[in-house]
């Protein structure tokens, strides 16, 4: 036997459920521009039909519907697209950072231009040729000394500037490392809240969104894998559970947990001297830095792990890009390589030039270099690196060993040897001249920069594509929400009208029946 008021109950449920849906629509509209927000929908389902089966149940047609209920509120999200997005974010993070490192280097080297080392070499050579043309001219000799100084200073400048940028990159490694730690902690915090909420049968959709935003940020820096651990209690089947983040070393070593439930690991990026990389000069004597040693992970439950360079996935994540620029594994990396090539160039030039200036022959075994006073030539440059290259203090114009015989002021034999050095092929410099060696450095840098820029552009395009794909699933469409709003509003109205109708039928029974003849 059915209840008199069953219809009222069914319509009341309808009212409440439509209202929930309407509120959710409101929530969607409010968050249309929230970063990482996924649109939500109320999953409606019918309530169990009447009558429910039982021995004493009367025989009647059934089931009669008893109305609707909101089963759950769910966010609309495609995990597969998310995965793609994060993979591409890894690459984009790497190439974005690499492009920046290289472009800063290009700014400093400033080639091709009318200044820079290439031009300094040429100017120095020109000043020597002027001495060739007039060997005893004090002015020409003085100019040659000045041009030598400006060549040395060009090397000094490059060295200082490149190291300064290298230091900035070291500092960025430090910042990025703390960012990773902060992200891991925040994700663990959200996990903790999720673990508290889900067993009650609720869906913490907004927390999921916040967690995914953090995960995207984390993937920009380091590539990580994720898995989920379901909550217990009355957790819904569609609840996502707490997120476990693991780092998989590239060499196949066991994966390291970074976040598991409410626990999280902290990482530290250390140099070869086991000190945190912070961008401060490590060796004040040479104004240089110790290269990247390892990432040490203070893991969950006191476990510790070390990740060295070979265990980092190549070309993925900003941290790897910064380490590649900063230097690792015994002098590798964009900045250390350029610095050491410049040192090589400077030291070879200093050695060969001094050899000729002191002995008249490139290997330093001769006695055919004499200054204006008939004394054998002495060193012109001092130093062995780009950093400390310098023209010998107090060298005077008459000290230049221009002649190959003493007391021949018009003899320009040795200065011609010195000038020739510029276009001499040097075995130590990959069989190039000083300038072609430098030119090849710039060429190599340019190719690297171009490659990085191209890959950055590609990754950006692909990620945009994926981002669009993702937005197509989860972003709020105002038109759609408007339509939903009307749908739910009308349904709400219709439910209300239903209640009025049932009220009228009840009125008939209660007030209209049994009053015949009155």
């Amino acid at each position: 036997m059915r209840s008199t008021f069953m219809g009222l109950e069914a319509s009341k449920r309808g009212l409440f459920t439509q209202q929930s849906a309407l509120y959710t629509t409101g929530h969607n509209i409010s968050n249309a521009n929230t970063l990482g927000y996924s649109r939500q929908r109320v999953n409606m389902e019918t309530t169990p039909g009447f009558p429910s089966p039982g021995l004493n149940t009367g025989k009647s047609a059934g089931h009669i519907g008893t109305g609707v209920q909101a089963h759950s509120v769910q966010r609309i999200r495609d995990e597969f697209v998310d995965r793609q997005y994060r993979q591409e974010t890894n690459k984009l993070g790497y190439w974005q950072s690499t492009t920046q490192s290289i472009s800063q280097m290009e700014d400093i080297m400033s080639e091709p231009s009318e200044f820079g080392i290439n031009q300094a070499f040429t100017e120095f050579w020109k000043s020597m040729e002027d001495v060739v043309a007039d060997p005893k001219d004090t002015a020409a000799r003085q100019v040659m000394i000045s041009k030598g100084q400006s060549l040395a200073e060009s090397f000094n400048y490059m060295d200082t500037q490149l190291k300064q940028i290298q230091g900035n990159i070291g500092n960025e490694i430090n910042v990025v490392t703390s960012e990773v730690n902060s992200l891991l902690k925040q994700i663990a915090d959200i996990n903790k809240q999720v673990q508290a909420i889900e067993p009650n049968g609720y869906m913490p959709n907004d927390l999921y969104d916040a967690r995914d935003v953090l995960l995207d940020k984390l993937n920009d820096i380091i590539p990580v894998s994720i898995s989920y651990e379901k909550s217990g209690g009355a957790a819904l089947a569609i609840a996502e559970g707490s997120m476990t983040i693991t780092f998989k070393p590239a060499d196949g070593s066991p994966a390291i947990d970074l976040v598991k439930g409410k626990d999280f690991a902290t990482i530290q990026t250390t140099d070869t001297a086991d000190k945190a990389i912070d961008g401060n000069v490590d060796d004040p004597l040479t104004n240089s830095y110790f290269e990247f040693g390892e990432i040490s992970i203070n893991g969950i439950g006191g476990a510790t792990a070390k990740v060295n360079y070979d265990q980092l996935e190549s070309s993925k994540g900003k941290l790897a890009a910064l380490i590649d620029a900063f230097g690792h594994s015994g002098g590798q990396g964009i900045y250390p390589e350029m610095l050491s090539k410049l040192d090589e160039l400077a030291s070879t030039f200093i050695e060969k030039f001094n050899n000729i200036h002191m002995s008249g022959s490139i290997d330093g075994t001769g006695n055919a270099a004499f200054d204006l006073n008939g004394n054998p030539g002495e060193a012109f440059f001092t130093g062995t690196t780009a950093r400390d290259m310098k023209v010998v203090d107090g060298i005077r114009p008459e000290d230049l060993a221009v002649s190959d015989t003493p007391h021949e002021e018009g003899n320009n034999k040795n200065i011609r040897e010195l000038a020739k050095l510029q276009s001499t092929v040097i075995g130590e410099l990959q069989g190039g001249t000083f300038q072609t060696f430098y030119k090849s450095l710039i060429g190599e840098l340019g190719v690297k920069g171009q490659q990085a820029a191209t890959l950055e552009y590609n990754s950006t395009t692909i990620r945009l594509q994926i981002e669009n794909n993702r937005a197509s699933h989860n972003s709020v469409s105002l038109d759609e929400e408007m339509t939903n709003m009307i749908t739910f509003q009308q349904a709400y109205n219709a439910n209300a009208r239903m209640i009025t109708v049932i009220d009228e039928t009840l009125d008939k029974i209660i007030n209209g029946m049994g009053r015949a003849g009155l």
Partner: protein, 307 residues
Amino acid sequence: MRVTQSMLSSNMLRNLNTSYNKMAKYQEQLNSGKVINRPSDNPVVAVKGMGYRVDLDKNEQYQRNMGQAHSWLDSTDEALGQAGSVLIRVKELIVQAASDTNTSDDREKINQEITQIKQHLQDLANTRVGENYIFSGTNTNSPLFKADGTIQSSTDLTGLKKPIEVNVFDGIKMQINTEVVDLFNDIDTFMGELEDLLTSGATGKEIGDKLGVNSTDGTNQTILGLDSLTENVLAKRAEVGAKQNRVELMENRLQLQEVNVTKLMSKNEDTDYAKTITEMATAESIHQASLSVGAKIIQQTLVDFIR
């Protein structure tokens, strides 16, 4: 595929950004006049550009060296030319002295002129370019003839007969001085002997015999060679002339190379204005189109129509 407002607006922003990037690139090319501004824009162009710059600077320097070569060779030519014409005057004086119609007084006067000419020839041997004595080999501080009129010896000055060379191109050098120490020495000795002969009181016949003026076969000739000296001077002048020619050829070559390298450099890295301005105009109209279309798309939603 489901498309939402945020997708439209982010797409629009991205497209606007792309067209701004393009326009910025064109603008940079137009402003700087160069198609590249950093090596990664185009590594090949950058490296080539560095090479061309070195070539041009070298060319400039070699052309400057040419100036030095010119002034040395011109001065040498001038000095030798004068020496040649002075020797012709000496010949006239000899013929005059060999004539018996002259008295010893006349010979005395001829001798005076010979002494002056000898002095003049020494001055010619001490010709300077700037601060440099050009006939003293690499000992450019020392005049070839000392103040007392004696010639420098190779034992005192090791560089007396050494060449001075300048570079005129990669690996090509040219000697700019001319070795005339022996020649001037011979001339000076000859002039000295001539003086002695004229002051010895010899007769015109004796003078003529000793100098070989009287006979063509050289019988009785004891003082050799005015004619061969003149010939030697001419030979040296010819050598200098050949060098001058070579300098001019080299100069032409350098000028040609300068034009060529400049052209190549320009072709390599200079902005093609016609092309870039056209591309800029295209980019601008695309940008305008995307702006106006974007503004229209984003203007309205369903909200505008629900009442």
